[in-house]
Amino acid sequence: MAKLTFSIGGIHPADCKLSRGCKIETLPLPPKVYVSMFQHLGAQAKPIVEVGDSVKAGQIIAEPGGFISAYVHSPVSGTVKSIGLRKDLAGFNVMHVEIDVEGDEWAEGIDLSPELVTAIPEDRDFILDRIKMCGVVGLGGATFPTHVKLNPPPGKKADCLILNGAECEPYLTSDFRILLERTDEIVVGAAIMKKVLGDCPCVIGIEENKPEAIAAVRASLARLGYPGIRVEVLRKRYPQGGEKQLIDAVMHRQVKSGGLPIDVGAVVQNVATSLAVYEAVQKNKPLVTNVLTVTGDCLPVDRMHNYLFRIGMPLSWIAEQAGGVPEGAVKIISGGPMMGKAVANFDAATVKGSSSILYLGEGTRRRQETPCIRCGRCADACPMGLEPFLLKKLYQYGDPAGLEQNAAQDCIECGCCQYSCPAGVPLLDNIRMAKAQVMGIIRARNAKK
């Protein structure tokens, strides 16, 4: 069968899935965890515990701060040591709850047994409530609250649930490992979300460089026998896992500029989110764990890991468990090399969406910028069909109207342009600022109406 892919732009970086053979290992508990109140898209969560309270793992410690927000649970059992500002990985001050770890006692009603529960609850509201109460957010990068995404506004209907198993970022292997090791749970999670969305068809999209995962999911589907779920093989191409690109690849539909996926009948969820949905609905287990990859081009392969971590473990503590920062690391990244964030504060705590600790060596240094030779590679690479060379110029000339006309606001910040530029021009740096400027203008204009 033909491999699916998106229709505009894209690049083919070396996939460097060096840690693909590393089984998921469970990390021991650290002496302390720091739980961020801002680990989802939307409003910051409000702490409901006080200093000195003793908490159990899986207990709610913060409530949603708005409609688009999420519950936060304690990932460990212990005593609340402090509640206050602490620096996140980019160095910004964010409210954190500091907990001293004591033992490992879980809140009541949480099923920690490994048995697979395949019977899906009938009640749609029950399912959505469980997902909400367990603090499930999208784990593909944006950490959008899952219960909001699974509950389309009136008049909008899902035609297709797309499960994102592309993992198109180089180096990362956490999605690959859970697809191999937690296959059945992911499939049940998909069946649950499919049911919530009115029994629309479900496509699990996996890139061709993960044949073992494709085979495992197909075998699981045959075994569990949920109707209307199928695997589609995606071509290896970045950014295949971008929401808009994946919708284009799987459904041959394009989300209009400024629109939402549901406008074209699409709901996209990451495979890791599917696992979290399974645990929330079938096991009543809140989202307090996730899998991250420790990898990099300056790290020996025998020091690479895929870890099951508790949210709130400091990055530096996890790094120590894996033997510390390797010689020759020039940059430490949380996330993939294309869209991940350079870590400014290594003591920052992990959050729900943490996916890696990536050490990159000399090759990550930026090149000396030389004049643009108008080769057009940035425009060829842009999966949104934008012209990065033009947007950069318009931004530097201070032409916000021109930027809006040339769709700077459509940029998904995938980095393809800057990756491709032979002259080392910092295209995305400029376009990010241009995008912020145009978005501000659009918001101000809409507010006036």
Binding site: I8, K331, A342, R366, R367, I373, Y419, P422, G424
Partner: protein, 328 residues
């Protein structure tokens, strides 16, 4: 923890750099350069050397001492300009004329516009046209190939296109001209009868262009568009009046068409950014070249055609954009 870098994403970079792209073009020019040296001998080596050294040297001197911005010097790009300039000149060109061409290419066409990436006109072609107008005698003094591969009756002679223009003026038909001069369009596929270095072997040029395509340095659209336009126009006119209008094969392999379509019109800086823009640009070049060949006073018009279409690139760029995601 030791110091680490903090910068926004992306954190990795493709291998290709401006220098590696320029060196790919140099490699792609090698088959044609080797063939031209074999046929034209030491004279050709001299032209190539003078053009390359003066282009690179002038770019350095101008960037360093006139513009006072040494970072604008790009040796690899100047080398490409030099080689292309040499391939646009007869092997009999005197060294001072080649050096003057380099001054026009680098000094006027490139650096006065702001250097690499800023020029409106293709530097090597600007220089060729300047020399063609200023030194018509030297620029049309073609020697029949007399190089390391010996060729029995090596004398000075005109190019096929030049001979045709003269012959047609005196009232002969194309068939008569071709037969009296012993041309056969297939021989030019391997080596031209006479002409500038870059015009001598269609096969060598296509080999180099194939390398650029495989390395994804250029896309085929501009080149295909030029060649198909030329072929279509030639097919129509030759079909109507074969005695006065040359045919498809002849027009595709003679003169500067292949050198121009493969290496000059595809120059990044002076060609449109979008694929469809490139197609329009190529059609424009094809039409102009055939109008000059059929109806103009010059035997060949590739250089003029490219320069004229270079002027339209900013307008073409405004009219043709990439297909955008989610915007009909």
């Amino acid at each position: 923890m030791d110091k680490v870098l903090i910068s926004p994403s992306p954190h990795v970079h493709a291998k290709a750099s401006t220098n590696s792209i320029m060196m790919d073009v140099v490699i792609a020019l090698m088959p044609a350069i080797v063939v031209s040296i074999l046929f034209y001998g030491w004279a050709e080596i001299l032209v190539l050397a003078v053009a390359a050294v003066s282009c690179v040297g002038l770019e350095y001197l101008i960037a360093r001492f006139l513009m006072k911005r040494p970072e604008l010097f790009s040796g690899s790009s100047a080398l490409v300009t030099g080689l292309l300039l040499a391939m646009n000149l007869p092997s009999t060109s005197p060294w001072w004329m080649v050096a003057l061409g380099a001054l026009v290419a680098i000094g006027i066409a490139k650096m006065s516009f702001g250097g690499l990436g800023q020029n409106l006109f293709n530097p090597a072609i600007t220089a060729r046209v300047f020399l063609l107008i200023s030194f018509p005698v030297q620029m049309t003094n073609w020697t029949l190939p007399n190089g390391f591969i010996s060729y029995p009756d090596a004398v000075s002679g005109a190019t096929p296109l030049g001979l045709l223009k003269e012959g047609l003026k005196s009232g002969e038909s194309i068939q008569q001209i071709l037969s009296t001069n012993g041309f056969d369009s297939m021989t030019t596929v391997i080596r031209d009868i006479g002409g500038s270095a870059g015009e001598i072997s269609a096969l060598a040029l296509l080999l180099g262009f194939g390398y650029l395509l495989v390395r994804k340095v250029v896309k085929p659209w501009i080149t295909l568009s030029i060649l198909l336009t030329i072929a279509a126009i030639a097919a129509v006119f030759h079909g109507i009046d074969p005695a006065h209008f040359t045919g498809v094969n002849f027009n595709l392999v003679t003169g500067g068409v292949l050198l121009g379509a493969c290496f000059m019109a595809t120059d990044y800086v002076t060609s449109p950014m979008s694929n469809w823009g490139g197609v329009i640009y190529g059609i424009g070049i094809g039409v102009i070249v055939m109008m000059i060949r059929y109806f103009g006073s010059y035997p060949e018009g590739m250089s003029f055609a490219i320069l004229i279409m270079n002027c339209f690139v900013p307008l073409i760029n405004r009219a043709f954009h990439q297909k955008k995601y989610g915007r009909a």
